[in-house]
Amino acid sequence: MAKNDQGGTDDAGTVSRRDFFKTVGVGSLATSVLTAEDAEAQATAPRAVGPGDVPIRLRINGREHALNVEPRVTLLDAVRNRLDLTGTKRVCDRGSCGACTMIVDGRAIYSCSTLAIEAQGKNIRTIEGLASGTVLHPVQQAFCDTDGLMCGFCTPGFVVATVALLEKIPNPTPEQARKHLDGNICRCGTYVGVLEAALNAKGVARG
């Protein structure tokens, strides 16, 4: 069995605590003074993966997808490039504009700053999962009604962030809505309609 330099093995499930202490060596033990809990956590941590493609499974909008990606691939790129779900946009690609917003286990997250392998086992919701057929989600409808969109490139991110807001706070104050949506940037300047949509959207179930 190949051992990596953290002292883990390529099959973390079979390593014993005793093996673990043997492999980390005296130096690191003396300096880091691991508690038993720390050691247990490290021993059961995910095994090192890659480089090269690794198989992963993602649960997106209630559907399981099996795909092969390099470990460095972000959730955003995996979904856009490998699964061809292109509603979620890549804009800044470093967690400052919100165009890539998805809802993961109930929380709005920046999918450009989340690795695909880290999203395994989680409930991932994207813009594509909101409408049912041609019937728009109430938040999507509200954006159309208030003209809270122009070129539309930031719109999916704003819609998803708004859904996350309304599932948490069904009747937000303008102040709450602004705060919650401040992680999203629009360049065309559609904020007036966006805020109106967030305050007007009705019938969004509490998540």
Partner: protein, 721 residues
Amino acid sequence: MRQVPEVQAAARPQKHEKYPWPEKPALIGTEVKRIDGPEKASGRARYAYDIKRPGMLYAKILRSPHAHARIVSLDASAAEKAPGVRAVLPWRKAGEKVVYQGDEVAAVAAVTEEQALDALRLIKVQYEPLPHLANVEQAMRAEAPLVFEGGNVKVGAAEENGDLAAGFKAAAHIVENTYNTQVQTHVSLETHGCVCEWQGENLTAWVSTQAVHGTREGFAKALNIPMNNVRVITEYMGGGFGSKFGPDVQGIICAQLAKKAAAPVHLLLDRKEEHLATGNRPSAYARIKAGVSADGQVTAFDAETWGTGGAGAGSGFPLPYIYQFPNRRRVHKDVYINAGQQRAMRAPGHPQGCFITEVLMDELADRVRMDPVQFRLKNLPDEAPNAMWKSYFPMAAEMIGWSRRHPTGDPSPGPIKRGLGCAANRWGGAGRGTRAHCEINPDGTVIMRTGTQDIGTGTRTIVAMVTAETLGIPMDLVTPQIGDSNYPFSGGSGGSTTCASVSPAIRVTAGKARDALFARIAPQLGAAPEALSAGNGRISAQGGKSVAWKDACKMLGTEPVSVDGEWEAGLSASGTSGVQMSEVEVDIETGITRVRRIVCVQDMGLVVDAKTAKTQIYGGIIGGVNYALFEERLLDRNTAQMVNPDMEFYLIGALSDIPQIDVRIVNQPDRGVIGIGEPPAISTAAAIANAVRNATGVTIRSLPLTPDKVLAALERAGGTN
């Protein structure tokens, strides 16, 4: 780089004889929801970035890390052998120069984006760094190295009017100051780029562009192939603001990689490349000496101006802006530095000229102790359909409650100072050649096809509206088809010319289609074609029969009505006016400015869709807030590297930064369509700057109005009170 100039044409056209705008429209001027809203809000809309073709590769561009260098050698052999790589394209050869950080050097196409990025790192380029210029001060020094052939500074001809000496003699007060505005980048959310696919010698390109036809021409010229062989498709595009008018270098690289790899190639830039290499609004500097008479008439204006549009590009802007200085002189210098070239950006030149002039106007008004609005009313041009400021200033003043404005400097105690400011804008707009094709099908559905594109302004909706209005039918019977160079010619979406180019073309084409329908079905209705009219979803004969639209179309049998039409004079005009006022709060302890409110009075000729028009105005104003307070391309003065090529340090306002915005649109139906993309973006920053001046009592003659500048100006004025 193709620039879209401000267009000037007649301010009030002769009414179109055959198809004038309706006196009592059913749709035009009402609030119509954008018809592609559901596609965009659901994520179904496919942008160039989202195109996926079978076997498609991903490409990346290697760019110069140096501001100025000669390429000594370029070795791409390791990249060619890298995993997944299908094509490598050296863009520059040994011996050639790169003139800014981000200049293109080579490119790679690979199976995955990650593999393309890895391969870029394997390209070995040896550079010989050359002396560079990182800012205008460095470039204008007498001892500056000669970086640009023909000189680092290009002096323009003097613009002169009247008798400057006499003008200063007539002045009771003279103001002399230097003003400046920053470089801002477009930050289109969808970056520049395209997907290219060859079938033999034919290229199909899905491009994020503001001009499908212009881009087709650009591809054909650069690739040396017939225009017939190129098809450009832009179903949706994620913002351009003036920066997307051709294939650009990345488009040509993409097409060449696709050819080389014999596979479709996706090449969309990343955010850093977008900041560095796809355009910007140039900086502006103005050293001004201006005079005003004791009774508040401006008398003289003498300005030396300069600015940089980057490596070898211009930096012109209008000055003085709008107000009538009878005696004036102005000399402008384009200063070249080692940075990416400027491109047209939402009202090119105007926000710069507006900010500089309007701040100066408030300083002059204070010298003669006049209210800024009164002072402006005294110095504005005479009123005309395209010069309505004398009416709009009082209207905006009423909206914001200008009468409560205190003189310069908020006298109230405490660190939060409040103030009001105002500024005016003008723009050309106007229409030009657009062609369209209309089909009325026997089932009553209608196709209207034109090779324009929707850059987020609502063009698709306008096409459907004008068609439905002209045929007297509901909009859902109309399918507008746009965004394809295989459709009839339409120009680029720049200079606020789209609506005024497209709407008349659709009006004429739909009118012709209606007439052709009348001619075909008149015999069956037992009436002369001239006696037929269309409206309320019916075709009616004068004093006789009336049939539902669908029944009338059934009379066509199997052959649809199919007609071509084009833009004609008499349905559009040129020249808009607007006034904006701003209310701000400045914290004189932190220097932070918060814009509380903007009011806006704006015309645009005939309002087509009142809903999307208002959205455009909001968007322009919000762009102006960003320009006033946040945005600035920062280049390191030693290396000429951009230090904020991202979206966390290149600041753009979010919801909490947006003030209350109140818009009053003035409809001018008798002028025809003009366009509204640019005008409202022009005067917001100037109105904010004057409100900050009114609040704090100090003048900040430099954009953006960052806290450090506010605090420094207060310090110079003797500290906070």
